[in-house]
C-alpha cells in the first residue's frame, strides 16, 4: 500500500541513489501505469487509440511513447501542469510518479515484451474518508461567545478564518417553529408556543421534543427515504407487500427508544443471527428487503432460466448497493463490471458482497407469535415441502414436454371450439353463502316450486369466479347431499336423492351435475353442503344454477322459483339467491354439439396423459402429492405468527420462486458483469477499507449464510471502520441543519465532495462511536442546543459575498417544508389529524383490478375518509404509481436511496397545492373553525406567529368578501406556511 508517508520515504530514498539510474519497470513503473492509465488505455477500450498493455502496442501510437525522449512522449506531456489533460476525471499524478515515468522513458523505456499490463488499482487508502477518525478537541475562537458547545467552537474557527460574522439568534417564535418541524415534522400547537414564549427554556424544549413520539415518526421518514422503503414490489404488476409495515414501525421505535447505533445497524443486516429470539432482529431485516423486487423475474421465470438468474443477480446487486450507500457512503456498483475507477474497490470485493447475500431472498417471515420449537418445526416442514415441490416440478416439466408433443392437435381443436362457441362469463354468477372460517359446517340452499311437481332430471351447474384464481367450480362443496321433501323445514318426509357426503369430491370444474328424480313429485329441493369449498384461507358454498326439468326436459320449473338458504351473500349483480334460478350460468360453450365434442376431446386428452406417463413416474407423483398434502396439514396446524417482509431463506414456494433454506447460491466473479462469463467462485467478504479490515470472512469454501451476514454486520460497526461513524454523523448534521457537512451524503469516495468541517465531522463520529450507549439523541441534543442552530436565517450582503451558499453556517438555512410536513400540518391545523401510531398503512387510493396488475387509483380516493387522516409516514407507499400530490411536492422516489430531498419550485406544484381535492376538503374544515374563532388562531398555528397589521387587513378583507373556506385555501398556500422561517 502506498500511503503518503511511504511515498515520501520512497522518494527520498530514490533521490539518495544514483541520479541517472533508470527506475525499475516492474517495481516502479508498472504499478503507476496499471493504477493510473490502464482503466482507459486497455486493449478493449483503447481510448485515444492508445493501448498501454504491452510495449509494442504502446509504440503503435504515433507519439505517446518515444523511448529516450520523455519530453516528446505524450505519456509525459499529457500529465504535466496544474490542470493536466490526463488522467481524465481523476487527480493529477504526484510529482514523484511523474518523475519516475520521465526518467524511465529518458532511459529508453525498458519494458520486457512478455510483460502485459492490466488495470490494477492500488488499495490506496489515503483519502479523507478512509483515514482513521481523528477525535480532536474543539478549537478556540474569538468568535465563540458564551457557548460552551464544541459544535460552535468548530464552526467559529472556520467562520473566523473566512472573515464571516455569524447572524444573531432568531426570535423565540421562529425558533420553536423551526425546532418543532426539524424534530417532529409538525408545527408547535398554539399552547406549546404560548408556554415557550412565557418560559423560553431552549434546552428543555429540545429535550421535550426529542422525547416526543413524533420525533421517531419524523426521523423514520429520513431513514425510510434512505433505505428505498415502499410497500409494493415495483417493476411489472407492482403487487402489494401487506407485511412491509412492521419494518417502518421498527424504525420509528428504534429512533424513539434511542437504540444504540451499532445495534441498529446489526439488526438490519444480521439481526436474526446476532440476536436470536428477539423479534427486533428479524423485523430489522426489512431493511434488506425494502427495495424493489422483480416479481415476474423470480416468480414466473425462475432461476432455471438465464433471465431468472439475471433478475436474481440484479436483486442481489440492489441489496449490496443499499448496504454500502446507507451505512458506508460508498458506491460499489461500478465494480460489477470493472475495478472501481477512483476508490479502492475491486471486482473481487464486489462479488464477495454478493456471496454474503447469496442465500437470502425477499419474502414474508415470522418475527413473533411463534415458539422457537414451532419455528424450527415450520422451517423443517417448509424445507421438506419445497424439496418435494421441486421434484414434482421437474417430473411435471417432463410430463408437459412429453404431452405437448402428443396433444397439440387436440389443443388446437379445443381452442377453435372455444373461440367459435365460447359464450364467456355473464355477470350473474349464482348463489354464494356467507364466508366461514371453518370448513366442516353445514350450509344449505333450497328451491320452492310453489306446488308439488313431477321432476325427472335435476341439473346443478357449478359457479365460475376468477377470485383467488379459482375459476371453474368456484365454491362447489367438497361434500354435499341433495334431498327433496314437501316440508320446507326438511324435518319430515325427507328423501335423499344424491349422497356425496362420505368422501371428498374432486372439483367438477364446469361440468353439470345431473341426477334423476325418484319418480314422485315434490315441492322443495335442498342442496346441503357438509364440507365447504376453500376460497382463500376461508370457506364457502356457491352454485351457479339449478334446473329442475320435467319429462323430456321441455320445462325448467325452477326458473324464477323462490329460493331460501341458511345464509347468503347478496352482493350487487353477481351473487344472490335469485341468481340460482335465473337461467344464467357459466358454460364454456353455447352449442351443445360443440360441448359434446369438447368433452370427448378433453377426455381423450386425459386418457393420453394417463397412458403416456411411465408407471413409476405416475406413482412417484401420486406419492409426492400425498406427502405434500400431509406435510401441509402439519404446517397449517402451526400458528402463522406475525409476519414481516424481510430478507428470508425460508418461505413457501410461489410459482418458480423458491427459498434456499440457507444454502448459498454459487457466486462467481462475472467478467463485464455478464452471467454468461463467470470467473472464479467467490466466498463472502468485503472491501478492505481500513488497514485491519478483513477481505474474506471465512477460510474454507463452506460457510453459514447467516454467519456471513453477521460478519458483514460486524464489519459495518467495527470501531476502526472509518466510514460508518462519519456517514451517520453527516446524516444527523444534515437532518438538523438542512445541509450535510459532506455535500454527497451517499458518496464519501473520490468521486464525492470533501467535508466543509472535517475536524467537526470526526469529532461527532468519534463521540458517537465511543459513547457506551451510542446514542443518536445525544448527538442530536448537542447539535440542536448549539448557537449555530439558533441563528437567524436573515440575509447579509457582506457574508453572502464571501460564502453565498452558507457552507460555513453564518446563518440558518431557510428550508421548505417537506411533502409530508405540508400534508401533516394541513391535517393538524384543520383539526383532522389522527395521531394513532403504527400498524398497517392507510391507503389514499382505490385499488382496481387487484387480481393481476393492481391499478392504484388516487383520484378515486375520498379526501374526507378519516382512515386516511393519519401522519403521512403511515401511508401505503406504492412504488410504480407514486402518490401524485406528494410526488409533485418532491417526496422521495422509493426506486432508489434518496439521501437528500429535492426542493423544486414548479407551476405543477402550485396547481396541486391550490387545486388538490385534499386541500379543498381541509380548507372547508379550517374555514369552519375560523367561523367561530376568527382568523388569528389558524394563521398562527400555520405560520407560528400572529399576522402583522398589514396582513390582517388583507386577510380580513378576503374573509369578509369570499368567506372563511376560501381564506383557509389561501392560508394553506402561503409562503409563510410552506417555508420554515
Amino acid at each position: 500500500m502506498l500511503g503518503s508517508r511511504s511515498i515520501a520515504i520512497l522518494f527520498s530514498a530514490m533521490s539518495l541513489g544514483p541520479l541517472f539510474a533508470a527506475p525499475d519497470f516492474e517495481q516502479d513503473v508498472a504499478p503507476i501505469l496499471e493504477a493510473k492509465c490502464l482503466f482507459c488505455h486497455n486493449a478493449e477500450q483503447a481510448k485515444g487509440d492508445l493501448i498501454l498493455r504491452s510495449r509494442s502496442e504502446a509504440l503503435l501510437h504515433s507519439d505517446a511513447l518515444v523511448p529516450g525522449a520523455a519530453n516528446e512522449s505524450g505519456i509525459i506531456t499529457s500529465i504535466l501542469g496544474p490542470d493536466p489533460e490526463m488522467p481524465k476525471k481523476a487527480d493529477p499524478l504526484p510529482p514523484e510518479e511523474i518523475e519516475i515515468l520521465r526518467r524511465w522513458i529518458d532511459a529508453g523505456a525498458e519494458w520486457p515484451e512478455v510483460r502485459k499490463l492490466v488495470y490494477n488499482p492500488t488499495r490506496d487508502l489515503n483519502w479523507w474518508s478512509l483515514n482513521p477518525i481523528q477525535p480532536g478537541s474543539a478549537p478556540d475562537s474569538t468568535l465563540l461567545g458564551e457557548s460552551d458547545n464544541p459544535v460552535d467552537a468548530f464552526l467559529a474557527a472556520r467562520l473566523e478564518e473566512n472573515g464571516l460574522t455569524p447572524m444573531p439568534e432568531a426570535s423565540p417564535d421562529t425558533l420553536l417553529r423551526r425546532l418543532s418541524y426539524d424534530l417532529t415534522g409538525l408545527p408547535p400547537t398554539p399552547e406549546e408556543m404560548d408556554a415557550f414564549l412565557a418560559d423560553p427554556d431552549w434546552d428543555a424544549a429540545v429535550d421535550r421534543l426529542l422525547s416526543s413520539p413524533a420525533f421517531g415518526e419524523k426521523f423514520a421518514q429520513h431513514w425510510l427515504d434512505l433505505v428505498r422503503y415502499a410497500e409494493t414490489h415495483g417493476y411489472d404488476k407492482d403487487k402489494p407487500r401487506p407485511n412491509a409495515w412492521p419494518y417502518r414501525d421498527y424504525v420509528i421505535r428504534s429512533f424513539n427508544e434511542d437504540k444504540p447505533f451499532a445495534r441498529f445497524v446489526e439488526e438490519q443486516v444480521a439481526g436474526d443471527q446476532l440476536f436470536p429470539g428477539n423479534p427486533e432482529g428479524v423485523v430489522g431485516l426489512g431493511f434488506l428487503a425494502a427495495g424493489p423486487w422483480d416479481f415476474i423475474g423470480h416468480w414466473e421465470v425462475g432461476e432455471a432460466k438465464l433471465d431468472g438468474r439475471i433478475a436474481k443477480h440484479l436483486d442481489r446487486d440492489e441489496m449490496v448497493q443499499a448496504v454500502f450507500s446507507t451505512f458506508q457512503s460508498t458506491t460499489v456498483g461500478c465494480a460489477q463490471c470493472h475495478h472501481h475507477k477512483f476508490d479502492p474497490i475491486r471486482m473481487e470485493d464486489y462479488y464477495r458482497l454478493h456471496a454474503v447475500f447469496a442465500a437470502v431472498d425477499r419474502a414474508d417471515r415470522v418475527f413473533s407469535g411463534l415458539s422457537p420449537e414451532d419455528e424450527k418445526r415450520k422451517h423443517e416442514l417448509l424445507t421438506h415441502i419445497n424439496r418435494l415441490k421441486s421434484e414434482q416440478g421437474q417430473l411435471d416439466q417432463e410430463r408437459k414436454r412429453l404431452l405437448a408433443a402428443r396433444v397439440s392437435g387436440i389443443d388446437r381443436r379445443i381452442a377453435e371450439l372455444k373461440e367459435k362457441h365460447g359464450s364467456g362469463l355473464k355477470p350473474q354468477y349464482g348463489f354464494h353463502s356467507q364466508i366461514s372460517k371453518h370448513q366442516d359446517i353445514a350450509k344449505w340452499v333450497q328451491i320452492d316450486l310453489g306446488q308439488r311437481r313431477g321432476i325427472t332430471e335435476i341439473r346443478i351447474m357449478p359457479a365460475y369466479d376468477d377470485y383467488g384464481g379459482i375459476g371453474a367450480g368456484f365454491g362447489f362443496p367438497v361434500r354435499y347431499r341433495v334431498e327433496i321433501s314437501d316440508d320446507p323445514e326438511f324435518e319430515q318426509g325427507v328423501r335423499l336423492l344424491h349422497d356425496a357426503t362420505k368422501k371428498d369430491q374432486p372439483s367438477p370444474g364446469t361440468r353439470v351435475q345431473k341426477m334423476e328424480g325418484d319418480g314422485r313429485p315434490f315441492r322443495y329441493l335442498r342442496v346441503t353442503a357438509t364440507r365447504l369449498a376453500e376460497r382463500k384461507k376461508d370457506y364457502i358454498f356457491a352454485l351457479g344454477e339449478i334446473e329442475l326439468l320435467n319429462e323430456g326436459g321441455a320445462e325448467n320449473f325452477a326458473l324464477g322459483a323462490s329460493v331460501t338458504a341458511k345464509d347468503s351473500i347478496e352482493s350487487g349483480v353477481r351473487w344472490g339467491k335469485r341468481n340460482l334460478v335465473d337461467g344464467i350460468f357459466f358454460r364454456e360453450l353455447s352449442d351443445e354439439g360443440a360441448l359434446t365434442e369438447l368433452r370427448t376431446l378433453q377426455e381423450k386428452r386425459i386418457q393420453i396423459e394417463k397412458e403416456m406417463l411411465p408407471p413409476e413416474t405416475k406413482r412417484r407423483l401420486e406419492e409426492i402429492g400425498k406427502e405434500i398434502l400431509a406435510l401441509e396439514k402439519k404446517r397449517k396446524a402451526i400458528p402463522p405468527g406475525k409476519q414481516v417482509y424481510a430478507a428470508a431463506t425460508q418461505f413457501a414456494r410461489g410459482g418458480r420462486f423458491m427459498a434456499t433454506a440457507g444454502k448459498p447460491r454459487p457466486i462467481h466473479l462475472l467478467h463485464r458483469g455478464d452471467l454468461r462469463s463467470p470467473g472464479e467462485r467467490m466466498t463472502p467478504g468485503a472491501p478492505p477499507l481500513w488497514e485491519s479490515a478483513p477481505e474474506v470472512f471465512f477460510d474454507n469454501k463452506e460457510w453459514n449464510e447467516a454467519e456471513a451476514r453477521a460478519e458483514l454486520a460486524h464489519y459495518l460497526t467495527h470501531p476502526e471502520n472509518p466510514l460508518s461513524w462519519r456517514t451517520i454523523s453527516n446524516r444527523l448534521w444534515q437532518w438538523t441543519f438542512g445541509q450535510p457537512l459532506v455535500g454527497t451524503p451517499n458518496d464519501f469516495g473520490r468521486g464525492g465532495m470533501s467535508p466543509s468541517h472535517p475536524e467537526l465531522l470526526d469529532f461527532l463520529a468519534a463521540s458517537l462511536r465511543d459513547d457506551p450507549n451510542q446514542s443518536l439523541k445525544s448527538v442530536l441534543r448537542l447539535l440542536f442546543t448549539s448557537e449555530a442552530y439558533r441563528r437567524a436565517s436573515t440575509h447579509d450582503e457582506k457574508n453572502a459575498a464571501i460564502d453565498g451558499s452558507n457552507r460555513f453556517l453564518w446563518r440558518a438555512h431557510r428550508r421548505r417544508l417537506t411533502a409530508e410536513e405540508i400534508r401533516d400540518s394541513i391535517l393538524l391545523t384543520s383539526g383532522k389529524l389522527n395521531r394513532e401510531m403504527g400498524g398497517p398503512s392507510f391507503q389514499d387510493f382505490v385499488i382496481e383490478k387487484p387480481q393481476h396488475s393492481p391499478h392504484y387509483q388516487y383520484h378515486l380516493h375520498d379526501p374526507e375518509d378519516p382512515e386516511t387522516h393519519r401522519r403521512t409516514v403511515y401511508r401505503f407507499v406504492v412504488r410504480s404509481q407514486p402518490q401524485p400530490m406528494l410526488t409533485t411536492l418532491d417526496c422521495a422516489d422509493p426506486a432508489m436511496s434518496v439521501p437528500q430531498r429535492d426542493e423544486s419550485t414548479t407551476a405543477l406544484q402550485a396547481l396541486t397545492q391550490w387545486n388538490h381535492p385534499f386541500v379543498e376538503a381541509m380548507s372547508r374544515h379550517l374555514g369552519q373553525s375560523m367561523k367561530s374563532e376568527g382568523i388569528e388562531p389558524g394563521f398562527r398555528f400555520l405560520t407560528g406567529r400572529p399576522p402583522t397589521e398589514a396582513e390582517k387587513s388583507i386577510l380580513t378583507e378576503h374573509l369578509e368578501t369570499e368567506g372563511p373556506e376560501s381564506l383557509a385555501r389561501v392560508l394553506f398556500n402561503l409562503n409563510a406556511f410552506v417555508y420554515v422561517d
Binding site: Y235, K237, P292, D294, I296, G297, V301, L306, D307, I310, A311, L314, S325, S408, D411, T744, D747, S793, T794, H795, R814, K849, H852, S853, S880, Q881, P884, M885, T888, D893, A895, M896, D902, S904, T905, Q909, A910, L911, W914, N915, E920, T948, A950, I954, L955, E957, H958, T961, E962, G963, E965, S966, L967, R969, V970, N973, L974, N975, V978, D981
Partner: protein, 478 residues
C-alpha cells in the same frame, strides 16, 4: 362537474398582462450551447407496451410462410420466457411492398405505407432479457432496473422548454392503465423534479391533474381569482421582509405560471378546433373518446385512442413541448389490451397495429405538411420482439434476441439499417446488432448533444442516458 370554462375565463382575466419571467429553468443545462448544430428540436417516442411482434408488422420473413406448421429448428437451444418453442408460425397477415423503396409491410401496418420512404427501420435491435419490466425500462431510461431518468427527462434537462407555460416533457399514457413499471418510465430519478414527465390524458374529464379546482360547494370563479390575488399580496409582503432569497419570489411566480398553464394546456388539448379532414386523417371516432372497447378489442376504438394521442402530440409539439411519450397498450390485465400476444396474435395485434399505424402515419404526414417533420424526431419502439414459432396454437412468446425499432424525421434518412436472420430470431450478423444505447445516442446527436458529454453525477458515478455504451448510427443521418 365544475365548469372549467368559467374558471378559465376568470383566471385569464386575473393574470393576463402579468409579466412572466424566465424563472423556471426555461433554459436547459446546456443553456443553448450545443455540442454541434442540431438537426432536430423535439422528440416523440411511440411505445408499444407488451412487446409488438416484428415478424407480423415491419420485418417480413417469407420463410415463416414456407415452413408454417413445421417444426421450428433454428439450430440452437432456445430458452423462452413462458413456453417451450412450438412449430414455425407464419404471420396471419399478408405483406405487400410500399413506397418507392418497395418496403414490405404487413397488412396491419398498411397505413404507414404512405410515408414508408421517410422511415428508417432497424431490424437488428437486441435487448437484455425477455422480462417486460426490464425491457420497458431499458427502452425508456437506458437501464433495466428502476432509479434512472427517462430519456424525456434527459432531453428536458439538457434543452429546457421552448414554452414555459407547458411542461417540457409530456406523457400520453394508454387510458386503460399504465404499462409495466408505471410512472417509472417517465420518472426524473436524480434529475431535478421539473424534468419529470407530466401525464396528460386527452379526452378525459381532467386531462391534467389539478389543473382546475375540484368540484366544490364553496370555490367559485370569483373567489378562485381573488384568492390567488390575496395569496400573491400576502406572499409579496412575506418576501419583502426576507430579502436575498430568490425562492420566495420564484414560488410567487409559480402561481402565475400555473394560471398561464391553465390557458395553454386547455388550448393545446382542444382538438375540436381541428378541421374534419385532420380529425379523419388521425382516425378519430365520431363518438369521441368514449368509443366502446369493453366487449372486444377493435380497430375503431384503437384508432380513436391512439389517433387522438398523436393529434394532441402534434399540438403540444407545435407549442414547444420538447419530448412527448405516447403509449399504446396497458398492463397485463384481462381482457388483454396490449401487445403481449402470448395467446392470440391475430386477435390483439390486428386492432392495435391498425390503430397505431393510422395515428402514426397521420402524425408523420401532418408534421410534414406543416414543415415540422425536419425538426421532429419520431421513435417507434417496444420492449422486445416476438418469436417466429408459436406459443399454444395462436400466440407468440417473447423474443429479446431481435426486434425492430424505427425512426422518422429530425434529419433521419429513410431506409433499412440492420437486418434480422431469415427467421426473425436473431440478428442476421450475430456480431453486429443495434442497442437502445445506439438509438438514444442517435437521438441525442440529432438534438445537438454529445451522448457521452451529457452526464450528471449521482452517488459517485457520472450517469448518462447511454450508460457506458452507445454509437451514433451515422449511416442513417441525412
Amino acid at each position: 362537474m365544475t365548469d372549467r370554462r368559467r374558471f378559465l375565463g376568470a383566471t385569464a382575466g386575473s393574470f393576463t398582462g402579468l409579466a412572466l419571467g424566465d424563472l423556471l429553468a426555461r433554459d436547459g443545462v446546456l443553456g443553448g450551447k450545443l455540442h454541434h448544430p442540431p438537426r432536430a428540436k423535439r422528440v416523440v417516442q411511440l411505445f408499444m407496451a407488451g412487446a409488438a411482434s416484428h415478424v407480423d408488422t415491419f420485418d417480413h420473413k417469407p420463410l415463416l410462410k414456407k415452413k408454417d406448421g413445421e417444426d421450428w429448428d433454428p439450430g440452437e437451444t432456445v430458452e423462452l420466457f413462458q413456453s417451450t418453442p412450438g412449430a414455425t408460425f407464419a404471420s396471419p397477415w399478408e405483406f405487400r411492398p410500399y413506397g418507392e423503396c418497395g418496403k414490405q409491410l404487413s397488412d396491419i401496418v398498411a397505413p404507414l405505407g404512405d410515408v414508408v420512404d421517410d422511415i428508417a427501420f432497424v431490424h437488428n435491435m437486441v435487448g437484455k432479457t425477455g422480462v417486460h419490466s426490464q425491457g420497458t425500462l431499458l427502452q425508456t431510461t437506458g437501464f433495466s432496473f428502476p432509479g434512472f431518468p427517462s430519456a424525456g427527462s434527459w432531453v428536458s434537462y439538457a434543452l429546457g422548454s421552448e414554452n414555459e407555460n407547458l411542461p417540457s416533457f409530456v406523457v400520453l399514457p394508454d387510458h386503460r392503465g399504465f404499462a409495466s413499471n408505471g410512472a417509472k418510465n417517465w420518472a426524473t430519478a436524480f434529475l431535478p423534479a421539473q424534468h419529470q414527465g407530466t401525464v396528460i390524458r386527452p379526452g378525459s374529464d381532467s386531462p391534467i391533474a389539478d389543473l382546475f379546482p375540484p368540484e366544490s360547494d364553496y370555490i367559485t370563479p370569483e373567489n378562485d381569482r381573488s384568492g390567488l390575488s390575496t395569496l400573491t399580496k400576502l406572499n409579496q409582503l412575506h418576501a419583502a421582509s426576507r430579502p436575498g432569497d430568490d425562492r420566495l419570489a420564484a414560488r410567487i411566480r409559480s402561481y402565475e405560471l400555473a394560471a398561464s398553464m391553465q390557458l395553454s394546456a386547455t388550448d393545446a388539448l382542444d382538438v375540436s378546433r381541428e378541421p374534419t379532414y385532420i380529425r379523419d386523417l388521425y382516425g378519430l371516432a365520431p363518438e369521441g373518446p368514449g368509443v366502446d372497447d369493453t366487449g372486444a378489442i377493435n380497430e375503431k376504438a384503437e384508432s380513436e385512442f391512439f389517433g387522438r394521442k398523436c393529434l394532441v402530440a402534434r399540438r403540444l409539439l407545435e407549442r414547444g413541448v420538447r419530448f412527448v411519450q405516447v403509449w399504446s397498450g396497458n398492463d397485463n390485465g384481462f381482457p388483454r389490451r396490449n401487445w403481449d400476444s402470448h395467446g392470440d396474435v391475430k386477435r390483439d395485434h390486428e386492432p392495435l397495429a391498425l390503430g397505431m399505424a393510422r395515428g402514426a402515419a397521420a402524425l408523420i404526414q401532418d408534421l410534414k405538411q406543416r414543415g415540422m417533420l425536419d425538426e421532429t424526431l419520431i421513435l417507434w419502439t417496444t420492449e422486445f420482439g416476438r418469436m417466429p414459432c408459436s406459443q399454444g396454437s395462436k400466440g407468440r412468446d417473447h423474443n429479446p434476441f431481435v426486434f425492430t425499432n424505427w425512426m422518422c424525421g429530425g434529419g433521419i434518412q429513410g431506409g433499412t439499417y440492420g437486418e434480422s436472420d431469415e427467421w426473425g430470431f436473431k440478428p442476421q450478423d450475430r456480431a453486429r446488432y443495434t442497442t437502445n444505447y445506439d438509438i438514444h445516442a442517435t437521438i441525442l446527436h440529432q438534438l445537438g448533444i454529445d451522448h457521452e458529454g451529457l452526464t450528471v453525477r449521482n452517488n459517485g458515478i457520472d450517469r448518462r442516458l447511454t450508460d457506458v455504451h452507445g454509437h451514433v448510427l451515422r449511416e442513417m443521418l441525412g
